[in-house]
């Protein structure tokens, strides 16, 4: 099925809960209401015509400058039966973004959702093990948000880059080597 037919099928089934579409995009998608995502996902997987048995990617994107500011979670689906792809998108408010988990539909969502929670702070309700996955457990904040500021220190380690050697040299410290003359034996470096 092509993207249009998939979208129509979803609209026919869920009506209002399919809140928008982006069929012209390079990867066509439908926008799903946040509370309905688990049902839609389950339907996408179980319906024999859709048969989206594979969640390729689950990614969160932060749009603070949009009006209203929002977060997006994009689900890229693939069907190993019909070999078609489609994407679902959920738009969330930037304050306390939360949506149901799809972990019960696709097993891989477990880790993807944990990563999304870790890096963007999107809460997946009903997730069995919603812990940080990539960052340390006691890390504060969610770095992939656009307004993220690096902390100065984490457990006494510099997080922000310290003064680089070039800056130190500019400031007058006598470090570094050179200037020097050096002509390598061959210069046929460029392609």
């Amino acid at each position: 099925m092509d993207a249009k037919a998939i979208h129509e099928k979803l609209v026919a089934r869920f009506g209002e809960k399919i809140a928008g579409e982006g069929l012209a995009a390079a990867s066509p998608f439908a926008v799903v209401a946040p509370e309905a995502i688990a049902e839609v996902a389950l339907f996408c997987k179980s319906d024999p015509r859709l048969a989206f048995d594979n969640l390729m990617c689950l990614s969160g994107v932060d749009y603070p400058k949009e009006n209203p500011p929002r977060m997006e979670v994009a689900y890229h689906l693939y069907s190993y039966v019909h070999l078609h792809t489609f994407a679902l998108k959920v738009l969330l408010p930037r304050e306390n973004p939360a949506l149901p988990t799809v972990e019960g539909v696709w097993g891989v969502a477990n880790w993807h959702e944990r990563e999304c929670f870790d890096l963007l702070g999107i809460v997946f309700l009903g997730h069995s093990d919603l812990r940080r996955i990539l960052l340390p457990d006691d890390w504060e904040g969610h770095p992939l948000r656009k307004d993220w500021q690096d902390p100065e220190y984490y457990h006494g380690l510099h997080v922000k880059p310290t003064q680089q050697m070039a800056e130190r040299a500019l400031a007058g410290e006598k470090i570094g080597v050179g200037p020097f003359d050096f002509t390598p034996p061959n210069r046929s470096n460029q392609g």
Binding site: M165, A166, A169, G176, F180, T183, P184, N189
Partner: protein, 185 residues
Amino acid sequence: MIRWLKDVWEGVWTVLVGMRITWRHLFTRPVTLQYPSEKWPLPPRSRMRLFMAYEDCIGCGQCVRACPVNCITLKAEKRPADAPAIWASNGQPIKLGVSVFDIDMSLCCYCNLCTYPCPTECLYMTPEYEFAGTDLTQQLYHFAKKDAKFITEDPKKKAAPPAAVPPASAPPTSTPPAPATPAGA
């Protein structure tokens, strides 16, 4: 019983087959390269230490923008109007005086992205890889020279030398000593 026997036999047999191969390898030539005493000839495109021919730099800063890890520090300002005109070896006039050109090789990721935009091809990677040091500060390279010998004649006016002269070839030494590089150098 038959399966058991087959299993045992296969176990012994595959072990013997493997042993034959390792036995054969006992007598094949080792491929080891004894590094400090023998060295592999590096292909000319090898991307190792960065080098910049200071006399050719026009201070455009494209390499700084291209570098994904910000390992190049460049400070250039307009040359005073009364300073003698100088040219890079590919004939491009040098309008900006480069007072600082530092490359922090400890940050460099050897991606070669900085060398492509360079209009005078003065920045390039050399097949030089033995520059480990005992101190991190030895990885900071200053390329800006105080006594650089720039080309002071307009190359276009001269009878054009063959265009394929490699840019890094030594600048003509007969030129009178260039004035000190611009203020701040």
